[in-house]
Symmetry: C2
Subunit: 80 residues, 2 copies
Amino acid sequence: MNHATITPTDNGPYLVQGDVTLLDAEGNAYEVTDTIALCRCGLSATKPFCDGSHEKTYFKAVNRAPTTYRPTGWLVQIAR
Amino acid sequence: MNHATITPTDNGPYLVQGDVTLLDAEGNAYEVTDTIALCRCGLSATKPFCDGSHEKTYFKAVNRAPTTYRPTGWLVQIAR
């Protein structure tokens, strides 16, 4: 098994590699390959997967570590 | 170590749990907790993390398995 990594690509999708299970909100697993691209522009017609829409819509997001993560309102809310 | 899972929540972020490394596009790791929320509406001001923007922008995405993943143009392109 390969360690799972998620990479928010520059102006593109999340590249997901390695040993990870993709679940829907009801807990059912998607059948996926070892490398997948997940939509992060919000506009894919095949969500949660990337369909290349970010290129047509000029999605801009270049993000760099280090950024120490602190749960925001949404996560704190659902964690209650 | 807990197995990594990614869940595209209904109308919300990706909920990421377990043993996974979040890397930026240069390969540097973010310091994250065991549970994180990644933006999938494309509008967070704290990308790649969710900041709750999906609620203000009425992001709609309710996705369910099974959907067999087939790499789309973008992934095929970068895999070359």
